[in-house]
Symmetry: C2
Subunit: 316 residues, 2 copies
Amino acid sequence: MPAPTLSDIRAAYARIQPHIHRTPVLTSQALDALCGAHIYFKCESLQKTGAFKMRGATNAVLLLSAEQAERGVATHSSGNHGAALALAARRRGVRAWVVMPENAPPIKRDAVAGYGATIRECAPTLAAREAALEEVVAETGAEFIPPYDDGRIIAGQGTAALELMQEVGELDAVVAPLGGGGLLAGTAIAVTSLMEETAVVGAEPQGADDAYRSLKAGRIIPMEDPRTIADGLRSSLGQHTFPILQERVSAVVTVPESTIITAMRRLWERMKIVVEPSAAVALGALMEAPERFAGKRVGVILSGGNVDLDHLPWLE
Amino acid sequence: MPAPTLSDIRAAYARIQPHIHRTPVLTSQALDALCGAHIYFKCESLQKTGAFKMRGATNAVLLLSAEQAERGVATHSSGNHGAALALAARRRGVRAWVVMPENAPPIKRDAVAGYGATIRECAPTLAAREAALEEVVAETGAEFIPPYDDGRIIAGQGTAALELMQEVGELDAVVAPLGGGGLLAGTAIAVTSLMEETAVVGAEPQGADDAYRSLKAGRIIPMEDPRTIADGLRSSLGQHTFPILQERVSAVVTVPESTIITAMRRLWERMKIVVEPSAAVALGALMEAPERFAGKRVGVILSGGNVDLDHLPWLE
């Protein structure tokens, strides 16, 4: 399957627009001063289900044939993709199965169940997760909708950058969090197609820096033992996302845990928004590499806001 | 001084627009389902300085004559008005003095000082506060800008409702938090002038229900011993705000502390925004009086987002 193009992203946007929020772009003089740049925050934390994942999942669900829709969709996810797929499926009246590790936080299970998906529990290993998914697909004939390594998903995620550029115009750089690479790949296609000169930068936790290392090595180096609070960014790159990043991403900035937590707190405190650690990594990249962004117009995609309010990192 | 009119609010809007954020209006299916209504949240928590207070303070500062501006402005405030006046003054290059009780939380002091105002400390009593303010005014000739009981302030606060109506059109009701009455008075003038049939409802903590009692009694009953976490709503009504509320407000709903905290948590959790307890009181009113809003289109003004992130009420 060839990589999605700008026109795939535009088509995805037309398709999903009635089903998603057009999220606001916020600015903060305090954070501009902190980073020495002019920052435009695209708040996907304010997206339905609290994350940009709703964009890709909705695009994939709306692209199902009538026959596929009849059989339903399935995925494995301990996080935002599961909730997004559940809601996107419910909006089209399609059944959804989500394989979740038995130790997934209750708040994540409740979200998926609340959107009407059937949860299938599995042991908390990649092998158990894949086995459970295969089982569900074999039993139900459901279509597997991967969390990121899929053209339909990548095209959907790219629509956030499209909205951002529509709203603020020319940018010198766009920064997005980097885990499996779905958001960054979609962002990079949208941005570099429309603004050739704009740098697209990935923001990755230092404790899960497989993408940084993979891009350096020229081959996918899987993430084996991720150690980061940014639970949305622990995955490895995929066969679809990796080549897109190779072609279109200018740089990856890795961000230490302490900076992730500081960035998260600054976003809550100064911008009055609830963002999850994975989203804060993007601001963390500006704090870690200020020379790269000094005086520039920078778009930052705040990917999500799903946090356990009983356990805040600065209070632990 | 006669009460401000719709044209005062429109003039205030034209005046302050370049200096404020046009805050987003957010919606949430989860909170609609919780309350049984269609709710449009006007997020003044995302306003500059984290509160609607920036609107009134900016209006008052921009209305100063050149001569007044030369002398500066002064106020007493332990909260959002002080920070807003400090920033509004700085933007016009005007000096500002803010009288604050010596026990004011460091975060509030830092905000006021950070915007360049001079802080004058006083004992934490109303008498000490008024004496300190008189002293500052006598020494400096600064213009006193009251926190709410002032036509310039009321007109400025009304501009939030103006933006809300521009964005969402007809509403059956608009709910705003009720402390000293500046926000609610401005909101009521804007809303009832433009939409005669729309109910304007005040949301007041049960532990500081002086406005509820005052409107019932037909005279201002001062708040003597407010007991509420909603620190922005502990003040008594003023000579200017009271008659406007008498004329234009349909009802006051009083909200118990437990509902305020639940509402606050729901807003953080489901809408991914940081709001302070005083803002949550407005959603709390819908939770307390669902019959009043059932199936209706309701605008809710979320007044502010200034919270000490080290002390969250559900973790205390």
